[in-house]
Symmetry: C2
């Protein structure tokens, strides 16, 4: 089926066991419910009895009274996963070099790999595989770093457009403190970024793939470069993504490079790259109170990447403090420092890390519940893309159909939907995902 055929149908009711998280900590559950979609948007979710009244109940069949019904009875229907931090060129090195910390890992594993993306054949081959894996794992929207290479980045754009997934794609900018083969001339870096903005801004298929301004992080970007990128962000109204306060060595390095700045975040702020347009800052493990306040004031998303932060011995972002402080929080896999593309794994990692954080904070920092982690990886992260990540009326219909039939669990049929969701997140995998929808359209395996 053409991935976009279904968007043409006027009104479709998806019938199944519907679970989503409209607010932090709360699950909305509709056993055997009806999720009514019109075009790319959700119209409403109906309980079994409401839906039966409207659609006649019984066996669903095409052409019922109120439109077509798609039968996913006995299967979970949940919002698609949203990954706010993913490095496409690190896909081949995931799971490697993880006995290192951030700065040596970058030098020994990541930079050498990223150097290869001057070869567009190589880039295309890897990027296809990375996108296919995102699709398999149920990630329906993703914010992605490419490399400094303009041509390879444009290939990544086109492949995402072809895939049917939603993405912000960023050409990385770097002009200092990196191997020569990855260093850009400041003017060229800005010109290439502008070129990509011109070429892709607002013109992508169905608006699902958009450029995002992507300074790697302060250590590899001079203030000149950052200021230039800030000007581009402003003039195009383009979003921004970068890294912030991941590792203590990195924080020290930034302090040494910018002794005048009141905080690491303040360097981005000074350049117009901290919420002047919608902004993602990955990690925020070692953010000070002052930095947290600044992120809240600027409406910046703090992107929690728990697996990567454990893998590189960076620490645990105090996610509860961020939430309580009113900072927007989302989740990221941070592949390749994170080894798993699966956002379900990332949610579990966030929960586990938060429990250890709780213990080590003398039980002050309340751990995340399963429902909270699920919210963060769906609506929490999805809100960066607009009305995405929930099944409330007016939200884009991004969804996963989960065939979680489990013959290893006697009494599976009687499990409440909240437990079936928890079971899937903890023990399921991509083999349980039967269908993926983005903005109303069924998305089939790309490439």
């Amino acid at each position: 089926m053409n991935p976009h055929d279904t968007a043409q149908a006027n009104r479709i009711a998806y019938r199944g066991d519907i679970v989503f998280a409209p607010t932090l900590g709360e699950l909305a559950v509709y056993p055997d419910g009806y999720l009514v979609v019109e075009g790319r948007l959700i119209d409403q979710v109906l309980s079994a009895s409401e839906g039966d009244l409207l659609y006649g109940g019984g066996d669903p069949s095409p052409g019922g009274g109120s439109g077509r019904i798609v039968d996913y009875r006995g299967k979970l229907i949940i919002p698609g996963f949203v990954d706010l931090h993913f490095h496409a060129p690190q896909f081949p090195t995931r799971g490697l070099g993880l006995d290192e910390e951030l700065l040596s890992w970058l030098e020994e594993y990541t930079f050498p790999e990223e150097g290869k993306y001057s070869d567009i054949g190589y880039a295309g081959a890897v990027y296809r595989r990375a996108i296919k894996e995102l699709w398999r794992q149920g990630t329906t929207r993703v914010a992605v770093f490419a490399t400094v290479h303009r041509e390879a980045t444009e290939i990544l754009f086109r492949l995402f457009q072809e895939s049917g997934l939603g993405a912000y794609v960023g050409k990385v900018n770097m002009n200092r403190n990196a191997p020569s083969y990855l260093l850009e001339d400041t003017e060229q870096s800005l010109m290439d970024t502008r070129e990509i903005l011109e070429r892709f801004y607002g013109r992508s298929q169905a608006g699902l793939v958009k450029p995002i301004i992507t300074p790697r992080f302060v250590p590899t970007c001079s203030l000149d470069l950052l200021l230039g990128l800030g000007r581009l962000a402003k003039s195009y109204g383009a979003c921004v993504q970068s890294h912030l306060s991941e590792n203590t060595g990195e924080v020290e390095l930034v302090r040494g490079l910018h002794p005048e700045a009141p905080s690491y975040a303040a360097v981005y702020d000074q350049a117009g790259l901290l919420g002047q347009t919608p902004t993602l800052m990955a990690h925020c493990v070692h953010s000070t109170e002052e930095e947290i306040d600044l992120l809240r004031e600027r409406g910046v998303y703090a992107v929690h990447c728990p697996s990567a932060n454990s893998n590189l011995s960076s620490g645990v972002m105090p996610v509860r403090r961020f939430i309580d402080s009113g900072v927007r929080v989302g989740l990221g896999s941070d592949v390749g420092a994170g080894h798993s593309v699966s956002m379900a794994r990332v949610m579990i990692s966030a929960i586990q890390s938060s429990k250890l954080k709780w213990l080590w904070s003398s039980r002050q920092s309340v751990p995340l519940t399963t429902a909270e982690a699920f919210y963060l990886g769906t609506k929490g992260s999805g809100s960066f893309f607009g009305r995405v990540g929930s099944f409330e009326p007016g939200f884009e219909f991004d969804a996963l159909v989960i065939n979680d039939m489990d013959d290893t669990t006697p009494g599976f049929e009687e499990m409440p939907l909240s437990e079936r969701l928890q079971r899937f997140l903890y023990t399921g995998d991509e083999r349980n995902i039967e269908a993926r929808f983005v903005a109303g359209s069924l998305v089939v395996e790309p490439f």
Copy 2:
């Protein structure tokens, strides 16, 4: 093929990319090596050039000069995974109730599930599925808790015997502080335990499945019961497994129940259940220095269950301190508090937890490397079963053949074996496991 046919062949050389951990932190790697097995034991491991000389190199074919060659070229051959802590009756509840801590989780999820094993039909159905999953995930030896029910426990014995996997199987003892449907009369509990020892001790097929004395933990076992079990352990020379210092609430509870005891471990010790025969103590998260000293003196295995300890907000066992103190350390999945049966996942969880522990100990508690975690889940744990978990001469041939061909990684063929192992542990799964051997025999899918 009958799982034991291969054991009949006199001498078999398995040719492939051989990796094992003979000591903590050290990997032995034999690219395109030969692993020579005689009956159930490893004779030697030969490098490619040594093996080519002896076996003529080139295409392996049956009936070569020095015996049969089995061709696993291009695939990893690693020791089988050993899981020192697994609750078979919690297999259906894994991944559930993990927003709780230990004591409420036991009451709300675990005890009600364990109550069902008075029904031997139910027990047989679940235990088949649990063993099949152990097989799938590459666990070749496992120390297992059943429930208090003698009949269901005997079924678990027979199913393990049928499977070809190696196991210590324990009927659980409990006579206080649990729901009435799980409480035993002390005398009956001891008689049932003795009955199982009589029936299974030393008579299991190929010696692969053995009984183990299994008081659940001090809170649910009176001193009378513990003393009786200690006498049984002594008179049969039977091994012992239990839980120790997992959660602060539990430690408090034990202190209240046994105010006279100098430590939690001392209660077991007083009963003859702490290393008087080979002993496994799961968790040891909150062990005092005194307790650690006692464990070392008694030669007790401290079984690290990192995923379960994160899931139930118990904490992180100071694994480095145990190792440095000379305590024997192994790994356990602790299904169902641990959600994954895979020991590869448990190894990664051990590494991640140790990195956070390192940070929170002001960088004193050196984190585990990948090679160290691999050692703990193979030879470290395997030594409880004898000469198991390594490929040194005289060790039992327990092995996994890993087909890790990875077309998502350009240059995969050139990766060093240590990186291929790391990649598999972090990102692989049971789909990569092509064959499993226990004590020289190929083990096919059970049931």
